[in-house]
């Protein structure tokens, strides 16, 4: 079985309704090789992998394992062919320990013996150099530890074809390096590894070959050693793009939003924000960097009036009246009634910013439906707004009365950002506004943020891609475990510095809990 590819796909096609998710895709992976699957969001990468792991069934095409045609009807079949997939969203039971999760649902005909399972898992873990405590409960684990558990789980089931769906999306640069080292060790052990990603530099540093998908179509496969970022981008997008974000000098920045000593607890009584202080200035983009779930969401929601901080001040400097208002513990409605023009593009677009089942017009109305004294709605203005946003931001939609759920991720975001900008805000907060967007849509959003900045809006941008944060923002605030670990100048700092600040919080927190939080942040 030397020349045979471990897994080969021929002519795989999958449609959902009229959407062709995969169109005649061919792919092969050899043993002892890492293959990257590169493509923009919505290009069909995950769909393709889901067919290999038995979640979807292809409409056409065939799959070969070691040269033999196979039919994979369910995840169980996939395991039988030694295929294991690590999903983007972990599928673990929170209250179980790592070892219990690994043993869960395994049918090997043997009597259940957790000790033996744990030993075998430990052996696997040591073989590939994972750092993990298998007795630890999942809910006590960091994202990167959970991911490790998922990987050990599929290895434990004997997988030698491994699929990882965007494994680095939730990791810090340092954790990513660790993961890559493990993956390389597995490759050297003769496993076939497929990694889905849309981050170019990862592709180049990790994989042996790259297969590119574009809009569901298979574009081609190239050797990593013989390609570069520009060529890959071109393959991915289908045309040449320039990857530059403009950045102008802030004009006359003035404090618009001043946060002082904000402390915030979640429902379970866990402190999410610790003594957070910073200021957002007009005509400036303030970036917020941090590992996902470090308190970014709570911070923005507290400013927007959706969280109730335990203490601290959120001071808004009104540019018109010069008045200073404290927004803490005001409802979103009260904030608006104060004349604060605060726009917020939340992380959860369809679950918070928009209503998926409503059409574009009704979604425009969310902010403005209260206007007018009558008890009835007026859909005239929202309709005009919807149509102008569709025109100006090139939203791809059949018409303005299409439910937003049916739009693609990028178009959903254009609708949301368009609505939030339309109220001519003085503060614009955007949480992960380009997550899941293709390159073109991302640049449209960056441009919109830049335009707002030039109009003198104080823009707060929570991002995950450090490269983008460095290019787009004026200052970057780094948050870790709810502490602010640093505010740096985006023009002079480096990715490594931010990466270090992101992880600094973790040690800070453990130190803090030991010493009773005596040490002050810098």
């Amino acid at each position: 079985m030397t020349a045979q590819p471990a897994i080969e796909l021929r002519g795989i096609t999958k449609t959902f309704g009229h959407v062709v998710a995969n169109d005649n895709v061919n792919l092969e992976v050899n043993r002892g090789e890492i293959l990257s699957i590169l493509g923009e969001n919505g290009s069909g990468k995950t769909t393709l992998m889901n067919m290999i792991s038995g979640i979807y069934f292809p409409d056409h095409g065939s799959i070969f394992i070691d040269g033999q045609e196979v039919v994979i009807r369910s995840p169980k079949d996939a395991y039988r062919y030694r295929i294991g997939m690590v999903h983007q969203h972990f599928k673990l039971v929170d209250v179980f320990s790592a070892a219990e999760n690994i043993a869960l649902g395994l049918e090997d005909g043997e009597k259940f013996n957790l000790k033996k399972c744990a030993q075998r898992a430990q052996a696997i873990s040591e073989q590939y150099g994972f750092e993990i405590d298998l007795g630890k409960k999942i809910y006590e684990m960091s994202v990167s530890e959970k991911q490790t558990v998922e990987i050990i789980k599929v290895l434990y089931r004997g997988a030698d074809i491994l699929i990882l769906d965007e494994p680095t999306a939730v990791l810090t640069p340092q954790e990513t390096q660790k993961l890559f080292a493990v993956l390389r060790r597995m490759r050297d052990d003769g496993k076939a590894i497929i990694i889905i990603t849309h981050k170019l530099h990862e592709v180049l540093s990790l994989s042996d070959r790259v297969s590119v998908l574009c809009k569901g179509k298979y574009v081609g496969t190239v050797k990593t050693s013989e390609t570069n970022e520009n060529q890959l981008t071109e393959m991915m997008v289908g045309k040449k793009v320039t990857l530059n974000i403009g950045r102008s000098e802030p004009k006359d920045p003035q404090d618009r939003l001043v946060i002082k000593g904000l402390n915030c607890f979640n429902r379970a009584g866990v402190q999410i924000l610790h003594d957070v202080s910073f200021s957002a200035r007009s005509g400036e983009i303030l970036g917020i960097a941090g590992i996902a779930g470090s308190g970014q969401r709570e911070l923005l929601e507290a400013i927007a009036g959706l969280q109730h901080p335990a203490s601290g001040e959120i001071l808004y400097h009104n540019p018109k009246t010069g008045a200073i208002d404290n927004l803490r513990n005001k409802t979103p409605l009260q904030i608006r009634e104060l004349g604060v023009r605060l726009s917020f593009v939340p992380e959860d677009r369809l679950g918070m910013g928009l209503v998926g089942n409503m059409d574009i017009v009704d979604n425009m109305m969310l902010r403005s439906y209260r206007k007018g004294k009558t008890a009835f709605l007026s859909r005239k203005q929202p309709k005009d707004l919807a149509e102008s946003i569709i025109r100006q931001l090139e939203v791809v939609t059949p018409n303005a009365s299409t439910p937003v759920r049916q739009l693609s991720g990028g178009n959903v975001q254009k609708v949301l950002v368009g609505r939030e900008i339309s109220s001519s805000p003085t503060v614009l907060m955007a949480a992960y506004p380009v997550r899941g967007l293709d390159i073109n849509s991302s640049y449209i959003i960056y441009n919109l943020l830049n335009q707002q900045k030039e109009r003198g809006v104080a823009v707060i941008f929570v991002g995950e891609d450090l490269d983008v944060l460095l290019e787009l923002c004026d200052r970057i605030l780094v948050i870790g475990s709810g502490y602010i670990t640093g505010i740096v100048d985006a023009r002079t700092t480096t990715k490594e510095e931010i990466g270090l600040l992101m992880t600094k919080a973790v040690s800070h927190e453990t130190k803090g809990s030991e010493k009773g939080e005596t040490d002050e942040k810098q």
Binding site: F57, V70, Y81, T331, I335, P346, L350, M352, A375, Q406
Partner: protein, 370 residues
């Protein structure tokens, strides 16, 4: 891995999601489902009873629409079912699973009864009617507001809560039926104010059911406008779709929950008033007759659109009336009509699956190659 090969072949068919289906196609699928249901029910009938299925369907029509009296009765039943369906709809649109309509109707009916018995000979009839309207609406609304209050403040489970409220009001009805029973101790109220007719809703054009039908027709249109064109209706939709979005745009979710359930219960109270003062002129535990639950089906089938609910409640009432007639005419057990109704509703609900999904069969061409 070789031995797997025999077992692992492509499944006979797999399920794939459809695009949004054009409206006429969706209705064609529903119509086909109805036809299939009728054929299937016919076959079942034939094998169980050896009666001619066509005759059975003819009997069904006859039972529902055969005489003027039956048509009026159908109209009355349709109006009452529709009224209660209208009542549950705003709550359902808000994803508040109010399965306590049965109890809210009884609460309204009990309030009406109390007014008729206690105030029947004390107040002039116009004032009495006004008092009855207000108290029945308030009673229904309060019965819905209690679970809504707990839901809004402590996020209790509204399904269980509203269900249990049904049992409480049923016992209350039994209790008062005993207190007010005629003759004393029989546990039955009998026709209230038979001689004076105090508190009876007026007849229009000599038809005792016409007023109910007109009131419900007006309610249907009002509810349609309320849900679709009013700011309140918009807030209900937003809260129902996503509470987070509602909070994000500054809707007071608690207030909307309470306001909507007040409305839901109030319309149930009206239904209770119409049932007690309009048609029955008495109250028992069965006055609502399970309509509080059937209304859930009507509302869902119509996708919460009050105008479609006219169609769906007609369908349900028609089936009930027709099936009852079959049982009587052919001397069949009562359960037989339930079987037929069940089959038809099963097919209609099942058709929604085929509107959402399509089956893709294994291609036999490929099979030949293998």
């Amino acid at each position: 891995m070789k031995n797997n090969k025999a077992t692992a072949h492509e499944p006979l068919f797999h399920i794939a999601k459809r695009d949004a289906v054009v409206w006429w196609k969706a209705w064609l699928i529903r119509l086909l489902a109805l036809l299939a249901a009728l054929i299937f029910a016919g076959v079942v009938t034939f094998f169980l009873t050896k009666e001619n299925p066509l005759q059975i369907y003819a009997t069904m029509f006859d039972g529902a629409l055969g005489t003027a009296r039956r048509r009026w009765s159908l109209g009355q039943n349709l109006a009452m079912l529709l009224c209660i369906s209208l009542a549950v709809t705003p709550a359902f649109k808000m994803r508040f699973w109010n399965i306590g309509a049965e109890g809210q109707v009884l609460a309204g009916g009990l309030a009406t009864t109390a007014c008729m018995i206690l105030l029947g000979d004390k107040l002039p009839s116009s004032v009495l009617l006004l008092v009855m309207v207000v108290t029945s609406i308030l009673a229904g609304a309060i019965w819905a507001l209690i679970p809504a209050f707990f839901k809004a403040h402590w996020n209790t489970n509204e399904t269980l809560f509203t269900l249990m409220m049904n049992y409480i009001i049923m016992q209350l009805v039994s209790f008062f039926a005993y207190i007010w029973s005629v003759p004393k101790g029989s546990g039955q109220i009998g026709v209230i104010n038979r001689s004076t007719q105090a508190g009876w809703l007026p007849k229009i054009g000599g038809q005792s059911y016409l007023l109910n039908i007109i009131i419900v027709a007006i309610l249907t249109i009002l509810m349609y406008i309320y849900l679709k064109y009013s700011k309140h209706g918009y807030e209900i939709s937003v809260v129902g779709e996503s509470e987070n979005t509602a909070r994000y745009i500054g809707i007071n979710v608690k207030k909307v929950i309470l306001r909507t359930l007040f409305l839901s219960g109030a319309v149930c109270g009206v239904a209770g008033l119409l049932l007690v003062a309009g048609t029955d002129h008495t109250i028992t535990r069965d006055t609502a007759g399970g309509r509080g639950f059937t209304a859930i089906l009507v509302s869902w089938l119509a996708k919460f659109n009050p105008l479609f609910m006219v169609v769906t409640s007609f369908l349900i009432v028609f089936l009930q009336k027709g099936a009852t007639q079959i049982s009587t005419k052919f001397g069949l057990n009562d359960s037989f009509s339930d079987i037929i109704t069940g089959i038809i509703i099963f097919f209609i609900i099942g058709s929604e699956f085929f509107i959402q999904y399509t089956l893709k069969f294994r291609s036999f061409k490929k099979e030949a190659n293998a």
